[in-house]
Every structure is written in structure tokens, then in C-alpha cells.
Symmetry: C2
Subunit: 293 residues, 2 copies
């Protein structure tokens, strides 16, 4: 048995070497479970940077070349850039090569894979690491990003057990805890816990940014505002893509939220102290139980 | 000249020795600019705790006794508990004693002082330190809470320059930067930057807490959610009181926000990528400029 054969993933291709793709490469290298890491993407300068940082071993801007002989291909480009990637590699993915992605919405990715490949390849394992920062780019990547974080896999009826197992072990090697979930359920849960808060933070900061006295208003923003709005510093293109990709579940979550906010407004307006206190107390209780800080 | 005479505030009375009142006492003691600090309030156990912690020198549960011979009285009780305090001390405030408060809304406090005293006492200086944590109680107080934070004073036409000056110097001694603002403007600015975010955070957490699959939903909440919802761990009673006290400005801010959110929903719904991106980019730009993290 050669050394290479004992590796979990002898040849790993990462398409899109940014915060997520770069951090995964770093983590798997640190865990010594990958052989060669090939980076791919549209921006050569960024790939060169990834080479300099030691995140990847070589790179290709031609996706056909990039996936050749790969054991695993991880698509880690923004959601809005995924379909062209799938379309470009559909006819060139090596036989038996496992395909996975890191998209924050899963229904749209599954649809795009089906469209690009004409079917769901049995080696396709949709995935989503619940990790990230408001920063982006390979310069921000670090090996510990996924440690003790959850990764959700949404395997399909077509997905082979072996492929599923390999991607699970890959994320575990990166330090993550892997859980399985249905595609639709994933999209609903993430709409509520991640996509909705981002939309609210963006909407709040932009509301204030458009006021005439915005300079003065921002001057009096304190610590609570800083924490509350941190996610509004996230990458606008990435979050635009998420809003498009998870439109249905996101709009449903926003509607649920605004109905709830309307009830709170009504309670404040009518001086219904009990109703206001009930909402605040229930929220504090839930938040305190969630994170014991 | 005796030692006492050289002190900024020989005798300081703090009514409500919690996070804010306790931290102010600690800061002024550390700055060696107060003589005796008398604590007052309804909860004797909490006052005893403040004594043990060295935050106050003595205490009184009878407000008439507490304010006797005081040079400055700071009312640091929740907004909803302020009126009874003003009413109780109105006839007993020593001549020349400067009265201030720390309420997060100023219009309501000014109204209550006018109602309790039958006029605005010329030694009344409404104030609001823009500082705090999601914790409360004297146990959470610390001397550095106001350091490099802003304190807004909203002096009235009746306010004497000498009283205004003393309160300004008191907060500066605690490490804060003091600015003056009109009462109404204060309430609008704070509604936008503080009260609105708190209402949104409470409403969001409670929306999720009421879902059937809340346990699972909260399980997948990541770092962004943690930061975004931290302020939902704040004291429900205090925030209820703020919503009541600043009802008008807060409801106006919520309406402005929901109109803006509606536009974003419309853009997501209609697939208007440019509009979505514009909002996200403007928000990111404003947030990045606000805090260079």
C-alpha cells in the first residue's frame, strides 16, 4: 500500500478558493488527509495568492483541467456562480469522483446540478458548513474555521452511501460535526437562523444610512448596535445570491417575522404592557438558554 | 479650605444602585472626586450588596433621608420607576442640590419631573450615558463602564449653567465624553440606534422561539446569530419601560424600518438584483465606515 492510497483524499480539487474553500484546504492539509490540493477559479491573482499562502499546491483556471483525476471536487464559489461551474465540469468529472458544494441554500444547488448534469450524479453530496465570518477571500481563511462547527449534508435519494461517507469524513477531519437533513428543511432552518437576520441587519443599517442626520445618528450608536449590525458587513454579492437562491423560504421567514413585529408594534401602540413584556421575556429566556455567556 | 470642599461632589446620592448607578459610583470613587456616596432604592438586599462591594458608603430606603444634604442626586432607576422617585423627593431636595437622571428616553423623564415638581427645577439636568451591557444589577457594575463612552445631556431652558457644568464634570470624571442635545432630537436618535435594534432582536428571537421546530432551529444558529441577538438578552422590564417612555419616536423608527424592509422584500420577490445589491452595498459601506474592525 502506497502512502497516497492511505490518504482520505489523494487528489482534492477546490473550485473557488476563498474563505470557505481556503479554510477547508488548510484544515485538511493540517489533518494530513489530503495528497495534492488543486485550486481552480476565475481569478488567477487570487489563486496565485492561495499558492503563496500554501493553501493549494497548484491551480488551473480551466475547470476541465482542474477536475482531471480528482477524487473529490468541492465547489465553493458563491451561489450565483455555481451553475456555470457545474455546466463546465458535467462532462469531465472523472468516474467515481465525489462532487460536493458548500452553498448556503441547498434546493437551488440541487436544481442546478440536475440541470447541468441532466440528472443527479450518484456521487453528488450537497453540503453546507455553518461557519464563516463577515470577511471573505483566501487571505481570511484559517484551518480552524470549521472546528466544532456543524456541517449539514443533504444527501438525495440518488446519493451513494460511499460518496456520502467520504464527504462526512472529510468534514470531520476538518474538525466539524456532520449532520444530515432534508433539502427543504435545511433551507427553512437556515432562512430563519441566518438569512433572515442578515436581511434585517442590512435593512436596518441602510434605513439609518439614508436618513438626513445619518452622521449624527451613527455617532451615538453604542456596543449593542455594533454587535447587532456586524453581519451587515458581510459580502453583499454573496448575500444577494443567497436571497435569490433561497427566495421562497426567506420570504416566508420575513413574513413570519413582520407579522410578529406587527403584534409587538400593536402592543406598544396600545400600551399593552403584558404583551410587550411577554415577548421580551420569552425572547430573553430563549436567548439565554441558547448561549450561556 | 477643607478636603471636602475641594471635592467635585462632597455628598452624592444615587437612587437605584444597579449597573449604571453602581458603575458611576465606582468610577467617581476611583477618580477621587466624591466624598460620601449614599445609595437609595427599594431593594434593601441589593443596597447591602452594594455596601459589601464598596460601591456605596451607606444607604437609606427612605428617599427623604437619602437626599438630605446631598450635593448631587442621580436617579438611576428604570424609566418606569422614575415618577414615584421624583414625586417622593420633590419637596425634600435640598436647596441648590443638582438633580440628574440616566434615563434612555428624555422626553418622558422631563415630563415626569415637571409633573412631580410642578415646574422644571433650575438644578435639573437630564442625562443619558450611552453605555451598558446586556447584564444588570450592582454585581455587574464596574468603574470603566463609561470610559470613552458618550453621555448626552439635554439641558432645558430652565437649567442653570452651574448645574449643567457640574453634571458635565461629573461624567467627564467618570471617563465619558459629554455632548448636549435637544430632548426631542435625543429621543429620535436613540430610537433609531438603540431602541429599534433591541425591538428587532427581541422580535426575531421570539419569532423563532414560537416555531414548532425551535429546538432544531436554534441548534443551527451560528456566530452571526449570536452577535445579532445578544441584545435580546437585555432586561425585559427595562426595555418595556423604554418602549413606553419613547413610544412616539420608537414607533416612527419601526415604521421607517418596515417601509424599508418592504422595499427589500419587493426587490427579492421580483428578482430585482440591482435593488437588492444596492441596499446590501450601501449598508456594508456604512457599517464598515462606522467601525473599522
Amino acid at each position: 500500500m502506497t502512502l497516497e492510497r492511505s490518504l482520505l483524499i489523494p487528489r482534492l480539487c477546490i473550485i473557488g478558493v476563498g474563505l470557505i474553500g481556503g479554510s477547508l484546504a488548510r484544515a485538511l492539509k493540517e489533518a494530513a488527509c489530503v495528497g495534492e490540493v488543486i485550486g481552480a477559479g476565475r481569478h488567477e491573482a487570487s489563486l496565485q495568492k492561495a499558492m503563496e499562502l500554501g493553501v493549494i499546491d497548484r491551480y488551473a483556471t480551466d475547470l476541465r483541467m482542474a477536475v482531471a483525476n480528482a477524487d473529490v471536487v468541492v465547489v465553493a464559489v458563491p451561489l450565483g456562480a455555481m451553475y456555470p461551474v457545474f455546466a463546465a465540469i458535467a462532462d469531465y468529472l472523472p468516474s467515481g469522483c465525489v462532487l460536493t458544494d458548500v452553498g448556503s441554500a441547498k434546493g437551488s444547488v440541487v436544481d442546478e446540478v440536475r440541470r447541468a448534469f441532466g440528472r443527479i450524479p450518484p456521487t453528488f453530496v450537497p453540503g453546507h458548513p455553518i461557519a464563516g465570518t463577515e470577511k471573505s477571500g483566501v487571505e481570511s481563511s484559517f484551518a480552524e474555521l470549521f472546528r466544532h462547527r456543524r456541517v449539514i449534508l443533504t444527501p438525495l435519494a440518488e446519493t451513494e452511501a460511499q460518496a456520502h461517507d467520504l464527504i462526512q469524513r472529510m468534514w470531520e477531519a476538518a474538525g466539524a460535526e456532520v449532520v444530515d437533513m432534508g433539502v427543504r428543511h435545511h433551507d427553512e432552518v437556515l432562512a430563519a437562523t441566518s438569512h433572515l437576520p442578515h436581511v434585517l441587519a442590512y435593512a436596518l443599517v441602510d434605513t439609518l444610512a439614508r436618513l438626513d442626520d445619518r452622521a449624527e445618528i451613527f455617532r451615538y450608536a453604542a456596543g449593542g448596535f455594533r454587535d447587532f449590525t456586524r453581519i451587515a458587513s458581510s459580502d453583499p454579492v454573496m448575500w444577494h445570491d443567497i436571497c435569490v437562491a433561497n427566495q421562497g423560504a426567506l420570504l416566508a421567514a420575513i413574513e413570519q417575522f413582520t407579522r410578529h413585529l406587527d403584534r409587538l408594534v400593536e402592543a406598544i401602540n396600545s400600551g399593552d404592557s403584558k404583551a410587550v413584556l411577554d415577548i421580551f421575556r420569552r425572547a430573553k429566556h430563549a436567548r439565554d438558554n441558547l448561549y450561556r455567556e
